[in-house]
């Protein structure tokens, strides 16, 4: 399968100035992220709030400019292209935001929201806009009559369907789903996830699925990237990550997920302390202050991401240590 998206050493540092205006600091929101997404594949990105998941999505969308690093769309570097060229490329990369209430322009009717990308990218002829809008609405399970309504006339789930219809209007190759179900009721969440799944099968679109919920990620993803403080600490197939997690952070994250069994007495690996400040991340491995297996090297040297097997990469010193890492982490 072809690579749709390649991200190489993506870095985004936001400049912040102290209240006195003297010291300049940088929030290292994304700090050297690399991954590939194949055609028709879904990469799930998980991690705590503030770990850089959404920023990674926005960097790929080029809503913000990366500090360094490269982003390739079907082999073409989209990092150094002009605004005009970028506008053309936006046809192939679309986004579904977390909050369906703020993602739709409140002053536009649905017909206008859906036909705007059609007119910008000349997807269909002008006289076919109505037909295409109706087709898109039907595709996401809404009625043709809804075209003349304003966003406020819909429920959260319906609005998210409209957001998805808008995203697929340009027939994109890649969609960034930035926590698309977090703001929805559980009953509606499954409908939206199934809709995204159906659309992927039908349109062969690739997804970058950003979420907090591990269950959601497990349900929709082929590959999973676990992010911590701006870095991907573990990347692998969904089976590898969920059945054979290696990084202590991934293990703690999986362990913290509630088990729907009142009689389950599985010991939980609770993470201690707070996520460090991205302005001054810890030296060496950024996870070492919270890691129960931390060694001296962890505070001295940054670990590199290494292959454990064909479908699994991890960034941890434990796999290099003399100890049998599987034994330590088991």
């Amino acid at each position: 399968m072809n690579k749709i998206i390649e991200v190489r050493d993506l870095v985004k540092h936001f400049e912040i100035t102290s209240t006195k205006g003297l010291n300049k600091n940088y929030v290292k929101a994304v700090d050297g992220v690399s991954f590939d997404i194949l055609e028709g594949e879904t990469l799930g990105l998980v991690g705590e709030s503030g770990c850089g998941k959404s920023t990674t999505g926005r960097l790929i969308l080029r809503l913000i400019k990366p500090t360094t690093g490269e982003i390739y769309l079907e082999g073409k570097n989209i990092n150094d292209i002009s605004e005009k060229e970028l506008r053309g490329i936006r046809k192939d990369i679309q986004v579904v935001f977390q909050n369906p209430y703020s993602a739709l322009d409140p002053k536009m009717i649905i017909e206008d929201i859906l036909s705007e990308p059609l007119s910008i990218h000349k997807i269909v002829f002008k006289y076919d806009y109505d037909k295409e809008v109706k087709r898109l609405l039907n595709l996401v399970g809404l009625s043709e009559k809804d075209a003349k309504k304003f966003p406020h006339e819909f429920s959260g789930g319906q609005r998210q369907r409209i957001g998805i219809a808008r995203a697929i209007a340009t027939k994109p190759k890649f969609i960034i789903c930035d926590e698309p179900v977090s703001a929805l009721d559980v009953s509606v969440q499954s409908q939206i996830l199934n809709l995204l799944d159906d659309l992927q099968k039908e349109l062969k679109v690739s997804y970058l699925f950003i979420a907090h919920g591990l269950n959601v990620i497990r349900h929709v993803s082929n590959k999973v990237g676990v992010m911590y403080l701006g870095k991907i600490v573990e990347l692998g197939s969904v089976e590898e990550i969920f059945n054979n997690p290696v990084h202590p952070y991934t293990k703690a994250l999986l362990s913290s997920a509630p088990i729907p069994d009142p009689f389950s007495h599985k010991e939980k690996e609770v993470l201690e302390g707070e996520i460090p400040s991205p302005v001054s991340p810890p030296s060496g491995c950024s996870f070492h202050p919270r890691c129960r297996y931390a060694m001296r090297i962890c505070s001295e040297k940054k670990p590199f991401i290494q292959n454990i097997n064909e479908n699994h990469k991890v960034s941890c010193h434990l796999i290099d240590s003399d100890n049998d890492f599987k034994g330590v982490l088991a």
Binding site: R87, G88, R90, N99, A103, E116, H121, F150
Partner: protein, 305 residues
């Protein structure tokens, strides 16, 4: 539709009622003689004029006003209705010009001042708006007059420093009247635009491939306009408040100038007529802005409910 009609009728009736109360109170206040006093003797209050007569006078004047008769001048017994056709026309022209210029300048400056999605803010642009707001009207007028004198001395006779009668006379008063409201509109516009740029639907619009021009006009301004229209009633108050100073210093033959003349001649009917005509202008402007709000802002407020 019927509900809308009922709502509109209620609004109109309420405005008419408020206007009639305003007229009655104006007439009553102007009917009270300037030498009116109340003396207290042995714990008893004695007014210098009989209250019932004042009320009777007020009622008679009020009824004549309802018959659209503004009265007659005290000096030459001329019908005051001439105020409507000549003096009021001048003030309306000045106010309309001032408001239109204020909106055009204010919205343009607001767009320039706004960050438009960028993280850096130009303090200079904001200061350029805030400083004129803090300047006293009299200073602005004096500066404009100096500018006009300077231009006239150099053979550029576009602006007339005072008086009325031609378009050249009205240019400077319009500019003077529009500067303060324009700065106010500019602040509101720039804040509304910056607020819109933080919304997800703007990021979606950029993600759709909209050009920055399209994002600004199709999405941002469409959502910022209600906030700008919301500020118009304040603009009306500012602009009518400044009218007195502008007409006086530019010797412009308008309603407030005429009001001062009648007041100095102690002409009750003239003062009442002027105040009511200024009130009519205020109510018409307010009704116009309310109508705009009703058409544009109300649907948006319903959305947020």
């Amino acid at each position: 539709m019927i509900n809308r009609f009922k709502f509109a009728s209620k609004k109109v009736l309420l405005s008419v009622l408020i206007f009639l109360i305003f007229v009655y109170v104006t007439v009553l206040l102007c009917t009270i003689p300037t030498d009116f006093t109340i003396t207290f003797e042995n714990g008893k209050a004695t007014p210098s004029h009989i209250g019932v007569l004042i009320i009777k006078d007020t009622n008679e004047k009020f009824i004549s006003l309802l018959k659209l008769d503004l009265g007659r001048t005290g000096k030459d017994e001329r019908s005051l209705n001439y105020l409507v056709t000549s003096i009021m026309k001048n003030s309306v022209f000045l106010l309309a010009g001032g408001i239109i210029l204020a909106v055009l300048l204010g919205v343009s400056k607001g767009i320039i001042d706004s960050k438009r999605g960028s993280t850096s803010e130009s303090s200079l642009k904001v200061l350029g708006t805030i400083i004129p707001i803090s300047l006293p009207d009299i200073l602005v007028i004096a500066l404009l007059q100096r500018l006009a004198v300077f231009l006239n001395n150099h053979g550029i006779e576009i602006f007339k420093v005072g008086g009325g009668g031609s378009i050249n006379h009205v240019l400077l008063p319009i500019i003077a009247l529009s500067i303060l409201p324009a700065c106010y509109i500019a602040r509101i516009t720039s804040m509304a635009i910056d607020n819109c740029y933080q919304q997800d639907f703007i990021k979606v619009a950029v993600g759709k491939g909209c050009s920055s021009y399209r994002v600004l006009w199709n999405h941002v301004m469409r959502n910022a306009i209600p906030s700008i229209i919301d500020s118009f009633p304040t603009i009306t108050s500012i602009i009518i408040g400044n009218l007195l100073m502008v007409e006086k210093l530019f010797s412009y033959p308008g309603l407030t100038q005429s009001l001062l003349n009648f007041y100095s001649h102690n002409d009750r009917d003239g003062v009442i007529a002027n105040i009511i005509l200024i009130g009519i202008i205020y109510f018409i402007l307010d009704a116009t802005f309310n109508m705009l709000k009703w058409l544009i802002v109300k649907p948006l407020k319903e959305e947020s409910i």
